[in-house]
Symmetry: C2
Subunit: 190 residues, 2 copies
DNA sequence: TCCCCAGAAGCAACGGAATTGCTTTAAGGT
DNA sequence: ACCTTAAAGCAATTCCGTTGCTTCTGGGGA
């Protein structure tokens, strides 16, 4: 016996996982990030604390899971008709989402409760996937494109580094400059 | 009444701070990063737990302090006679120290228990200072140099991003490539 | 020199989070 | 329809985190 066609997924485990995740999101909005506690989340989710400890280990890893879920892009990058404008728009949006207080908090949580680095890797993969879409589209147009790794190194990494280590003096202009420099450099060395 | 000329600094506060820091370092080596706990550290340091909680807030912030202390560079960058070799050597050493398991743990701790971002800023400042020394030296030789911000964006940031988000496939060759690309790009667009 | 005062550490008690052995229930396969 | 296995519930225990109050250190002023 399985579930219907709606969102409710298979089995008790999945139900628990879903209710815990939504409990985290709800409580995060209600009591704030620092008011979160495992017993509190458990109560809201209609679950015993030990269940959470056994499945996630501790609060940090649970928050890390939820954070990664929230950092997943919900749309594919818009098509602006050219590589430069596609990348620029994407970088600006990326910066917007990640540099906000909420975005920074999610990044921190994701890195924090992540012993083996798999959650952080997932975040990086999200960005790489988005960039890959943009680059593939550009290549199909016949444009000359840098590699995904190059874009990650010279656009994503600088933005993320500044978000984490030097929040001051980071704006859309800087993001645009990074993209511009990347494309100049790429076509120049071609 | 003050202290003698040796390392023991002024007053009870400083003595406590020192003994707590050394207790953290000792216990980190003995019981491992995950075995650390405030009461344990307090006992080793000959201090009551409440003292630590009042001074540092929680374990995370204490570890963040200790981590930043360890991430401070202990030497000025070696002079290899040219900007390219200076930067390359520095990048390789930076990667070596930061990408090791111990280095990654310190970076994580420094970022983690750092509500206002001042510790992370300090880490970034360490790297920027080192780079500034190299660039200034190059400028005095009459070499054409990029700005510190540019080096941070295109060498430090990519390395740090990969350390944090994508530990796999990161080696000295990649660090060298980043420096090479930076200097090409810089002279090319001049 | 002595005393006083502000700040920091010690002490102790309490609330609640984290952990664990055992039991119970649900899901899926035979 | 049963049986097996994995996951959740339950309950008890430990000890971490927190706080009000007391005690002590050490620097500055009378």
């Amino acid at each position: 016996m399985n579930e219907q066609a709606d969102g409710a997924p298979r089995g008790r485990s999945a139900r628990v996982q879903a209710s815990v995740h939504t409990a985290v999101r709800e409580l995060e909005a209600e009591v704030g990030r620092d008011g979160l506690t495992v017993p509190l989340i458990a109560q809201r989710a209609g679950v015993t604390p030990s269940t959470i400890y056994r499945r996630w280990g501790d609060l940090g890893q649970l928050l890390s899971d939820v954070a990664v879920e929230r950092l997943r892009p919900d749309t594919t990058p818009r098509d602006h008709g050219g590589l430069a404008s596609d990348l620029t728009a994407w970088a600006e949006q990326f910066l917007d989402e990640m540099a906000s207080p909420a975005g920074r908090a999610y990044i921190r949580d994701a890195l924090l409760g992540d012993p083996d680095g798999s959650n952080a890797g997932q975040c990086s993969a999200y960005a790489a996937d988005q960039i890959d879409v943009i680059l593939t589209r550009a290549a199909e147009r016949g444009e000359d494109t840098p590699g995904v790794e190059t874009v990650v190194d010279h656009v994503v990494a600088p933005l993320m580094y500044r978000i984490l280590f030097r929040p001051a003096g980071l704006d859309a202009a800087h993001a645009r400059g990074l993209v511009a420099r990347l494309l100049e450099g790429h076509t120049a060395e071609k």
